[in-house]
């Protein structure tokens, strides 16, 4: 087990290293730079700025300098937000982004899984058909469409929720719904199909044959088996939510991290692009790692020592 954890940690560091390298060179291969083509910056100033941020150094030198500072958890100064470091940018946006993200994850698990079980128990009856129809819509409509629709109906037309910002708690409702819509639908569909399959397994018949109570049969024998496929897709789902959050934060004008990310790309704000990418990459690999540990706990056939 300890050996497994160490191995995984090494793998995580290698993965992150590769992400950093790829992003770095890809980013620099996009034409233009942070201080070029911008009308407001005179050429002399741009030159001075480039010098200040070592943008005139050879690329490989910039790369190694950057690696060095990242290794010390320093993501460098932002090019566009004057006087702010990328660390500070992330720190400022984190509370809002984390709240939206965690609420969405909670919604997905606490609502999505029970919906899936409920639908499976009512297989092919009308509650199942209705719920699955909604879920199918949910996985086919992109989150920015859901977000815009929600915003239009509930904020602009009905005025039930604020149209932007999170000064009031109600401001979180629509972003969380928009962000979790896809994953919520996906998880409930997956839970449903997985539970239906589990219900047909021989061991479920054994459980009924033993005279166990329905709650025991469904939860103890059914759910654990049924959740295995759900656990496996949690990693990709989190990835989908992280990327989705960029758009959602933009639509709802939330002061989170994602908003800066979209802006930083148009601005060629190199350090911010790199910083936020690394930040999200770390979150993702750590979550995938935790999910794998949980997977090993649920399924005894998976031995965490290989």
């Amino acid at each position: 087990m300890t050996l497994y954890v160490v191995k995984r940690l090494v793998a995580i560091i290698i993965t992150l290293f590769m992400i950093i390298t790829l992003t770095f060179f890809l980013m620099h291969s996009i034409p233009g730079g942070p201080f070029t083509g911008d009308k407001n910056v005179p050429e002399a100033v741009a030159k001075a700025l480039s010098e200040k941020y070592h943008l005139d150094d050879p690329l490989w030198k910039q790369y190694f300098d950057y690696l060095k500072s990242v290794a010390q958890f320093d993501l460098g100064p932002s090019f566009k937000y004057e006087g702010m470091t990328v660390n500070e940018l992330i720190k400022a946006g984190l509370p809002v982004s984390a709240k939206v993200g965690l609420l969405s994850v909670a919604l997905i698990l606490i609502v999505g899984i029970p919906i899936g079980i409920f639908a499976a128990l009512n297989q092919n009856k009308w509650p199942d058909t209705l719920v699955m129809l909604l879920a199918t819509l949910g996985v086919t409509i992109p989150s920015f469409v859901i977000g815009t629709l929600l915003l239009y109906v509930f904020s602009l037309k009905l005025g039930w929720t604020p149209a932007y910002g999170v000064e009031q708690w109600q401001g979180y409702i629509l972003p969380v719904l928009a962000l979790s819509g896809f994953s919520l639908s996906f998880v409930s569909r997956l839970t449903r199909s997985s539970m239906i399959e589990v219900f047909q397994q021989d061991y479920m018949r054994t459980a009924r044959g033993k005279g166990l109570r329905p709650s025991k049969i469904i939860i103890k024998h059914g759910l654990r088996n049924g959740l295995i496929p759900v656990v496996t897709i949690v990693g990709p789902l989190i990835a989908a939510m992280l990327t989705g959050s960029f758009v959602i934060e933009k639509i709802f004008a939330l002061p989170g991290i994602g908003r800066h990310f979209v802006q930083s790309i148009t601005n060629r704000d190199y350090t911010t692009i790199m910083g936020i990418t690394i930040f999200y990459a770390v979150i993702l690999v750590v979550i995938v790692f935790i999910v794998d540990l949980i997977y090993g706990l649920i399924d005894p056939r998976i031995k965490l020592n290989k």
Binding site: Q201, Y203, R205, G209, G211, L212, R224, N225, P300, R301
Partner: protein, 345 residues
């Protein structure tokens, strides 16, 4: 109340059981008018080709069928009360406790995520006033009884750490954990290799002696029934074709299907030279079963009436009945009636 209900040597009496599956293709009449009696302490073998309705009969007794399966009619009189009328809640008190079942495939019948010990203990705790510690002790005893070495240690293991034969032993331990009056074993050895098969059968035989449990043993291995059963029920197309003592069926069979079955499978008393003859044709489609005798399309003796009207059971002697027109008093005498005896020799 009829007389049989009062007869206290009878443990289970199934009357006119009819079970169907309502599928997209139509009603699959899996069990059609089955009568079955199991006496206390008796081992009854149920044989028949694949799809003859053996498992569905067993599942009907415990009311374990799930949608789209449904018991259409019939009584399942267990200890004088009709299980067909019992609620799901009442059935739960019977399942695993008074009547327990062992299933065909031990590889998939245990929950892969739960320790073997827990899977035994949960049945005990469900039905008996024992706490966890006492249940654990009992489970260890059961594992010892079904001859699993290192029982105490193996309690913590998961099913995937057991071989097929060992898993079937665990299933037997679970089935016997509440000392049931009736054990329904649905092809308990079919999925196992020959050596393991005979070990499991020996185990069941010993346990039978110890607990005096009645057993309904479903199998398509005639060797198995000959060895441990006292009575045999032969099923085909969802109906009982013939019923009798082991000797009646093996040496004095009065049914063309039984005879075909006897010739198609190796038997312990057969010499090496005799050739096996599989029964020609395929089992009937149970969605729209043919009128008349279900075996008619494959039967060498079939007469005109066989295809139009289903025969009734005729008693050859007490305890030996056969459902065949050839036994009707007006039927033409044929060599068939002595063929069963010839197999004897």
């Amino acid at each position: 109340m009829n007389q049989e209900m009062k007869d206290d040597s009878i443990l289970l009496k199934v009357n006119h059981l009819q079970t169907s599956f309502f599928t997209h293709f139509g009603e699959v009449k899996a069990v059609r008018d089955v009568d079955l009696t199991i006496n206390k302490g008796e081992v009854v073998g149920v044989v028949g080709e694949s799809g003859s309705g053996k498992s569905v009969t067993a599942m009907s007794i415990l009311k374990l069928l799930q949608h789209p399966g449904k018991i259409i009619s019939g009584n399942i009189i267990y200890k004088g009360q009709d299980l067909a009328q019992r609620s799901e809640k009442e059935m739960r008190k019977i399942r695993g406790n008074e009547i327990s079942m062992i299933f065909q495939d031990p590889m998939t019948s245990l929950n892969p995520l739960i320790t073997v010990g827990e899977q035994i203990m949960e049945t005990i705790i469900e039905h008996q006033p024992l706490n966890k510690k006492q249940a654990k002790e009992k489970a260890i005893n059961l594992l010892n009884m079904v001859k699993i070495p290192d029982a105490e240690k193996r309690m913590k293991d998961y099913p995937f750490e057991f071989s097929g034969g060992m898993r079937q032993r665990v299933m037997i331990a679970i089935a016997l954990s509440c000392e049931p009056d009736l054990l329904i074993a649905d092809e308990p050895t079919t999925a196992l290799d020959v050596t393991t098969q005979s070990q499991i059968l020996k185990l069941m035989k010993n346990l039978k002696g110890e607990f005096n449990t009645s057993i309904m043993l479903i199998t398509h291995d005639l060797g198995v029934v000959a060895d441990i059963c006292s009575r045999i029920v032969v099923m085909y197309g969802g109906m009982i074709m013939e019923e009798g003592s082991v000797e009646d069926i093996f040496y004095r069979s009065k049914h063309p299907y039984t005879l075909g079955l006897l010739k198609s499978v190796p038997r312990p008393d057969m010499d090496q030279q005799s050739r096996l003859e599989p029964i020609k044709g395929t089992p009937p489609n149970l969605v729209n079963p043919p009128e008349g005798c279900p075996f008619a399309p494959r039967c060498d003796y079939a007469m005109k009436i066989c295809t139009t009207t289903c025969p009734e059971h005729t008693y050859i002697q007490e305890g030996h009945r056969s459902m065949c027109w050839l036994l009707h008093e007006e039927a033409p005498k044929s060599d068939f009636l002595s063929e069963g005896d010839e197999l004897y020799e």
